[in-house]
């Protein structure tokens, strides 16, 4: 059978007979890499563009249509020492990029207007205490209006839209008082200018927008960046499937190019990338990523298989199903939808703050107007003073208080290997007081490890590793990896379902089932881990057994201790069998555990804990965890998790250690503390400024100075979230 790679799915036509592809590249960190890659790729004839994006770790390539196979670029990058894979921008990322550009454009317009309006305002402020003519002042005010009004109409869009959405849904958010403040300030300034008055607030209104846009852009940019990293990681997993393009011809195509009804070949040692049904063949499959169950399941004609299952022994032909056809998936999807609806009711800290804040401020402004009228002022003067109260309390600092902390904290988490999926994840994670772990793939590592490598002579182990290279079996792959084997033994023969054998220097080597190596007696005599797969290795008459299993994450125990030290309740909910879960719980010292739990049971347990008022962090990777990830207060997944779980989780952590869980909790707690502090700072400033505004002595100069002063104070305070966190475990 012939195998070809087909990347045509990713190739775009860039016009003028040029084709374009985007590659995600691993390990590009410096100018050296950038130059090396660009030079290496440009050297291929007919390549018209090779440009590295160092921020996003991607390469954009263009070449004359029909001259090159995109697979060649990947091979070339591999020669240069980089792993690369074609990349398809997710729609979520496209939206983030567009939003980020829009905010930057708004910020540019607002900053331009602020600078120019300030340039006109300062002469007015100094002129008011010297010899400026009223006509000159009016001229400057009209010019300010000319700049500020269109600029505010454009740059204010993000706030006006969001406020309008909130008001149409009959709720309120931070953008409602912001929008009211800006619109009233501008409106009053126009009226005042028409009446040749001394004060206009164009500068304050547009400066407010600029400050708020800075906060909003930073927040958005951080989200865009994590999204790009997550997109790259997904692309570099290089999920492909061997699709039948003829009766006997298969082509290795990206998963995105596979459609329901296609038939794919699943060879031993491969992870299934699609959902479907077996139509031919017989094998054992490992469904631990789907159900948490580590025992292998027999797959034969008619067995449903899900993306993420590992094929162990034989080849299978699988007919790809539409997502809804697979029964397990349908059940999980139903539970998931239900749980997601419940979660969207969470109200963010900023919105809770503004729900308290807006009525107080608006009532104060109203009382000020009435108070001045009762005290004998004219309606005009009273309204001007009332609007001044609104301007000075406009939640500039309040609007920055949370996004700035969020940006800095998510940057710190990013460094610790945690990506944020949800904007409000930090707030929710900080409140977590109970952690529920899934076992398989979360507390344990997703890949297999040789547990007793230390008991076997090093030369024997190395030999076993080399022999293992000739087998497709995942257990053999684990042995080969553990031994660090590089060169396979020439002439090794794999006997399907049994093992591999080879003859070296007249001595027969065998690796495989204990019976295949004649090592049954050894297996019978030893006390064995119920979790582990046992393989035997024989060299002539010397026989050894290797115990291979999913090991606990290297720092799992330390992380559990660290969580306990933070007074966080811990529990294991696993879909795996009781002995396996019990063993893990015992090693880690977790008294609360449940085994053989279904997705619905997991949700039931979470609901039960919720009733008691616990705020749960669910950490899980399997597809069976997806609904409970959505049901929990906040959730986290390792990067190796099933797609559905990863998309559902609020946070995703990278790498083998479990420590990002603690790091993320610490960082978010600190961030929440700073957010609260910032809110208090902002409120404290208002408490000082409001009496001044009510007394009617506020000038635009005072408003502008107070606003920038409080904004800068809040931003500086937010930067404290950067400081290195203390030793975690």
């Amino acid at each position: 059978m012939q195998v070809t790679r087909d990347f045509s799915h990713y190739v775009r036509d860039a016009g003028e007979g040029v084709q374009h592809i985007d590659l995600a590249v691993e390990g590009v960190h410096c100018a050296g890499c950038m130059a090396k890659i660009e030079r290496g790729l440009s050297a291929i004839p007919d390549v018209t563009l090779a440009r590295v994006n160092l921020t996003d770790h991607r390469v954009a390539l263009e070449w004359k249509a029909g001259t090159l196979d995109p697979g060649r670029f990947i091979d070339r990058l591999e020669e240069l020492g980089y792993k690369a894979y074609p990349f398809e921008t997710e729609s979520a990322e496209v939206a983030e990029v567009a939003e980020s550009r829009f905010l930057l454009r708004c910020l540019g317009v607002a900053a331009f207007a602020t600078m120019n309006v300030m340039m006109l305002s300062i002469p007015v402020w100094s002129g008011n205490v010297s010899d400026m003519l009223p006509e000159q002042r009016d001229f400057f005010h009209w010019l300010s209006a000319l700049i500020a009004l269109p600029a505010a109409a454009y740059a204010g869009q993000p706030f006006f839209r969001s406020a309008w959405r909130a008001l149409s849904a009959k709720t309120t958010n931070m953008d409602v008082p912001i929008s009211i403040g800006v619109i009233l300030a501008l409106g009053m300034s126009v009226v005042e200018t028409i009446h040749h008055a001394e004060h206009a607030y164009f500068d304050a209104a547009i400066m407010l927008l600029t400050f708020l846009l800075v906060g909003r852009f930073l927040d958005q940019n951080m989200r865009r960046r994590t999204r790009a990293v997550a997109g790259n990681l997904a692309a570099l997993k290089a999920e492909t499937a061997a699709k039948f393009v003829g009766p006997d011809e298969i082509s290795q195509v990206p998963v995105a190019a596979i459609h329901p009804g296609d038939i794919v070949l699943l060879r031993p040692g491969e992870r299934c990338a699609v959902d479907g049904t077996v139509i031919e063949g017989r094998s054992e499959i490992d469904q631990s990523l789907i159900t948490g169950e580590t025992l292998y399941v027999t797959a034969e004609q008619g067995t449903p298989v899900y993306a993420g299952s590992m094929n162990i022994s034989g080849s299978l032909r699988v007919r790809v199903a539409a997502a809804s056809e697979a029964t397990l998936l349908a059940e999980i999807t139903r539970l998931l939808d239900h749980a997601l609806q419940a979660r969207s009711r969470y109200m963010r800290l900023a919105d809770r703050a503004s729900r308290l804040y807006a009525p107080v401020v608006h009532a104060t402004a109203l009382l000020t107007i009435l108070g001045w009228v009762i005290a004998g002022a004219s309606w005009h003067d009273a309204i001007v003073t009332g609007v001044a109260v609104l301007i000075i309390t406009c939640p500039c600092a309040l609007g920055l208080a949370i996004p700035t902390v969020q940006t800095v904290a998510s940057g710190a988490m990013f460094k610790a290997g945690v990506l944020l999926n949800a904007g409000d994840a930090i707030e929710r994670l900080a409140e977590a007081d109970h952690v529920i772990f899934d076992k398989t793939g979360t507390l344990t590592l997703p890949d297999l490890e040789v547990m007793n490598a230390a008991d076997i002579p090093a030369d024997i182990f190395a030999l076993a590793g080399r022999l293992a290279l000739s087998s497709h079996h995942p257990v053999a792959a684990a042995v080969a990896q553990a031994a660090g084997a590089k060169s396979p033994i020439v002439g090794a023969v794999e006997e399907s379902g049994q093992g591999v054998r080879a003859t070296v220097d007249g001595v027969e080597l065998r690796l495989g089932r204990p019976s295949f190596c004649g090592a049954e007696t050894l297996v019978g005599g030893a006390t064995l881990d119920p979790e582990a797969s046992i393989v035997a290795f024989s060299k002539g008459n010397e026989k050894f057994i290797l115990s291979v299993r999913q090991g606990l994450r290297p720092d799992a125990q330390a992380v559990i201790t660290a969580l306990k030290a933070r007074n966080i309740g811990i529990e294991i909910l696993s879909g795996d069998r009781e002995p396996a879960v019990q063993a893990a719980a015992h090693v880690l010292g977790i008294p609360e555990w449940r085994a053989g739990v279904t997705p619905a049971d997991k949700i039931a347990r979470i609901e039960q804990l919720k009733q008691r008022g616990a705020k749960m962090l669910m950490v899980g990777d399997g597809m069976n965890d997806a609904p409970s990830l959505a049901a929990a207060h906040v959730s986290m997944s390792p990067i190796s998790a099933a797609h559905l779980s990863q998309a559902t989780a609020d946070l995703v952590f990278l790498g083998r250690p479990l420590v990002p869980v603690v790091a993320a909790i610490d960082a978010s707690r600190k961030a929440l503390h700073l957010m609260r502090q910032n809110l208090w700072l902002a409120i404290g400033y208002n408490v000082l400024a409001v009496p001044v505004a009510i007394s009617g002595v506020v000038t635009p100069l005072i408003a502008a100075a107070a606003m920038s002063g409080s904004s800068i104070l809040v931003m500086l305070n937010s930067l404290r979230a950067r400081s290195a966190s203390r030793e975690i475990v």
């Binding site: 950038m34 440009s42 994006n53 996003d56 921008t89 454009r105």
Partner: protein
């Protein structure tokens, strides 16, 4: 004070030119890779790599990566 008639429009025009330049740079994707741009500025290699030569890159707008979402 008649000088204002010249100075104020001049100042606004300069500001406006800055804004237009900013919007142009944004549109042509110059903010897409800020980390890379920092390194490119100091990368001192002599060979004729098209994409590394700032002059060549600027001379044809096509060499800038176009906005991804088009």
């Amino acid at each position: 004070m008649e000088i204002l008639v010249i100075l104020v429009p001049l100042a606004l025009m300069l500001g406006g030119a800055g804004l237009v330049a900013f919007l142009w740079s944004l549109r042509s994707g110059q903010y897409d890779d800020l980390d890379g741009a920092a390194w490119r500025a100091i990368s001192d290699d002599d060979d004729e790599t098209r994409s590394l030569q700032p002059g060549a890159a600027a001379s044809s707008a096509k060499d800038w990566p176009r906005p991804r979402a088009r």
